[in-house]
């Protein structure tokens, strides 16, 4: 069995700063991490490897620095890594990103047929959750999104049964391989890297693929292949009125003054609050 996992290197958003004067994002010195959602996908693939001895190839489309993220995946136990990198790929929206990843997956499949392709639920920088569906459509594979559990996996009979988070419940789906699975967060926890894998990860040759290696149609990649474009970047609009500062010498005085003002400005609020508490009292508070 051969599994591909698509991962992305993203800025550690907790540490991004915006320049106070120019309002631009300060990228220098911002550490990068593997998109946290992709680790759930990788761990799920590693579990399948533990059970079946499957081979795992991780892929990313990104700048040369993304090599670091791939090596990290190798240290967790992935067998192979491919860095898809070419300057014509930059500026891609999700349509162009899924084109490049699908083209790379086709090339990989030709070398070593793929049974399963994992992606994360979404990235923390793009936050779109569109690349996984895009890959599935481009490859003509079944798409299983928001998967919380793989119940059955039978490579010999080419079938898979998963639990999928739907609105208001969990759908249990039976589908066929090869499939694209986007993993839900919180389903597992990435393992610690073992010593032998850490040594291997540091030494192993990574594959680097460019436009020729994936036989890319240049009208479909990068900015050219991206129908959506950013027209404007702006700061959020301040409201006409700034927040009213509640004055008071002690926390108690501030609290009292606030409630007075709140119930004066929003005269229905006090009654609504009482009524809400009455209803809760009848149902029993659920906290």
């Amino acid at each position: 069995m051969h599994i591909a996992v698509c991962i992305k290197q993203v800025p550690d958003s907790a540490q991004i700063r915006v320049h106070p004067v120019t309002n631009t994002i300060m990228r220098q010195g911002v550490p990068t991490i593997i998109n946290p959602y992709d680790l759930f996908a990788l761990e799920e693939a590693l579990r399948i490897k533990d059970e079946t001895g499957a081979r795992i190839t991780v892929l990313t489309m990104g700048p040369p620095q993304a090599e670091e993220a791939l090596r990290k995946c190798l240290s967790f136990g992935a067998d192979d890594a491919i860095l898809i990198t070419d300057k014509v790929f930059s500026g891609a929206d999700t349509l162009a990103t899924s084109y490049v990843l699908a083209a790379a997956l086709k090339a990989l499949d030709a070398q070593d047929p793929l049974d399963l392709i994992f992606t994360g639920k979404q990235t923390i920088d793009g936050d779109t959750a569109q690349v996984g569906p895009g890959i599935a459509i481009r490859l003509g594979h079944q798409l299983l999104t928001y998967v919380s559990k793989i119940r059955e996996l039978d490579p010999a009979n080419r079938h898979i049964v998963v639990e999928r988070r739907a609105e208001g419940g969990v759908q249990v789906l039976r589908s066929a391989l090869p499939a694209v699975v986007t993993m839900l967060e919180g389903t597992n926890e990435i393992r610690f890297a073992g010593m032998p894998d850490m040594f291997r990860a540091a030494r192993q040759e990574l594959k680097r693929w460019n436009r020729d290696d994936i036989a890319a149609d240049l009208t479909q990649v990068g900015l050219k292949g991206s129908p959506t474009v950013v027209a404007q970047v702006f700061g959020p609009k301040p409201k006409a009125i700034k927040a009213l500062r509640i004055e008071g010498d002690t926390p108690e005085a501030i609290a009292e003054a606030f409630i007075d003002k709140l119930f004066t400005d929003f005269p229905q609020l006090e009654a609504a609050l009482l009524e809400h508490l009455d209803q809760l009292g009848q149902q029993g508070v659920t906290q």
């Binding site: 959750a129 895009g134 789906l173 959506t228 950013v230 702006f234 927040a243 609290a255 409630i259």
Partner: protein, 376 residues
């Protein structure tokens, strides 16, 4: 647009793209009517409210797109689609569409789009909406903007302006698609206000017979396990929310948020760092990558008000912030600034609210008593 955003930290001049002649026949605004087990997701109605506005600006019709299995239950929804402001409802019924499945719904939606050619297609950014939107956009090779918080029309070229936060914490961006049609966007539940419902308003129903074949649909639904509703936080529909952020400093302090929430019968919310620190459940995160809420009262304790948090809660009627820093971005859009330490202000608020509510209850009881006596 993950990478497009990367390159777009500075304002950019409007890109020079021309809409090819063949796309100019695309007309009308569509909203996908999402339903699961007979229940329409409210985000569909919210989108119809916004869709009405966009359609009026463009001078075109607003349509709801309803797909589902055979039977009157689905057909009955068309009346509701009309009541929420549409001109017409496309209805495609087929046994294959009984349950939502990616392949069958993607086939259905792409056929409808290719047949009737809308210029705009909006979907809820729910698990179903996102699953479908990404697949339909890729099949049609058109642009899709995810998780928008604002939608508008550029009158100069009739293009859809989709706004969403961009990473970095304090910036928004507007994304356009000048090269392909339809222009697609997904929008979070509770971002757009619920439109007024007019049950007398009729919608034309356009039935479309889809050629689908169950044997060609690979994925089968084996089971559906409904959530146990009672034990899940219902943040998006809560009227009262008290949220805590990184400013609380430690898990013990987050308890202060829970205590005030208990007094108010409020749901507990959290900023992303508070969730990451493990102080609150992921279900409770408010913001761009969490829930969007529209309560009557939102109290934000130790939350700075970064744009990703703001877009999730600025639809609240009244917003109060508790913060040491009078310059916190939250106060650019909140109603009330309570300047001070959360460890002091939260307990003070808890006591003051409890006292106030007790007094109000006593007064109400007395008023009732007097009224009763008056009647005798």
């Amino acid at each position: 647009m993950s990478d497009a955003l990367d390159t777009a930290a500075k304002p950019i001049k409007k890109p020079k793209r021309v809409l090819p002649e063949r796309f100019k026949s695309y007309k009308g605004v569509w909203v996908f009517i999402e339903h699961e087990h007979g229940h329409v997701h409210p985000v569909s109605w919210e989108l119809l409210g916004k869709g009405r506005e966009l359609a009026d600006k463009l001078g075109v019709e607003l349509a709801g797109v309803l797909m589902g299995g055979d039977g009157d239950e689905i057909r009955a929804i068309t009346a509701e689609v009309g009541a929420h402001g549409t001109d017409l409802c496309y209805l495609a019924q087929h046994p294959v569409l009984h349950d939502y499945r990616n392949q069958s719904y993607t086939l259905g939606m792409t056929e409808l789009v290719n047949t009737y050619q809308p210029e705009i297609l909006l979907l809820g950014a729910t698990t179903q909406g996102r699953d479908l939107a990404g697949s339909v956009a890729t099949t049609l090779l058109t642009g899709l903007t995810a998780d928008c918080t604002g939608l508008d029309i550029d009158p100069s070229d009739r293009s859809l302006l989709s706004s969403r936060p961009t990473f970095g914490g304090s910036l928004m961006c507007t994304i356009v698609n000048l090269a392909t049609r339809p222009q697609m966007a997904t929008v979070r539940p509770r971002v757009m206000p619920m439109p007024a419902r007019d049950p007398a308003r009729p919608a034309r129903v356009v039935e479309h017979a889809l050629q689908l074949d169950e044997s060609a649909i690979v994925t089968k639904v084996l089971d559906f396990i409904p959530d146990a509703r009672a034990d899940k936080p219902q943040l998006p529909f809560a009227d009262f929310i008290v949220s805590g952020g990184r400013g609380l400093g430690k898990p013990e302090n987050f308890q202060l948020v829970a205590e005030l929430a208990r007094t108010l019968g409020a749901e507990v919310g959290a900023s992303r760092p508070a969730v990451h620190a493990g102080w609150a459940d992921a279900e409770r995160q408010v913001g761009q990558s969490g829930k969007t809420v529209r309560p009557k009262l939102y109290i934000a304790a130790g939350i700075s008000g970064a744009v990703q948090h703001r877009v999730g809660m600025e639809g609240a009627d009244a917003i109060a912030g508790i913060n040491l820093d009078p310059g916190a971005p939250l106060f650019d859009f909140a109603n009330y600034a309570l300047i001070g330490n959360v460890t002091e202000l939260l307990p003070a608020l808890d006591k003051a609210f409890a006292r106030r509510l007790a007094t109000a209850r006593t007064q109400r009881a007395q008023a009732h008593e007097e009224a009763d006596r008056g009647e005798v």
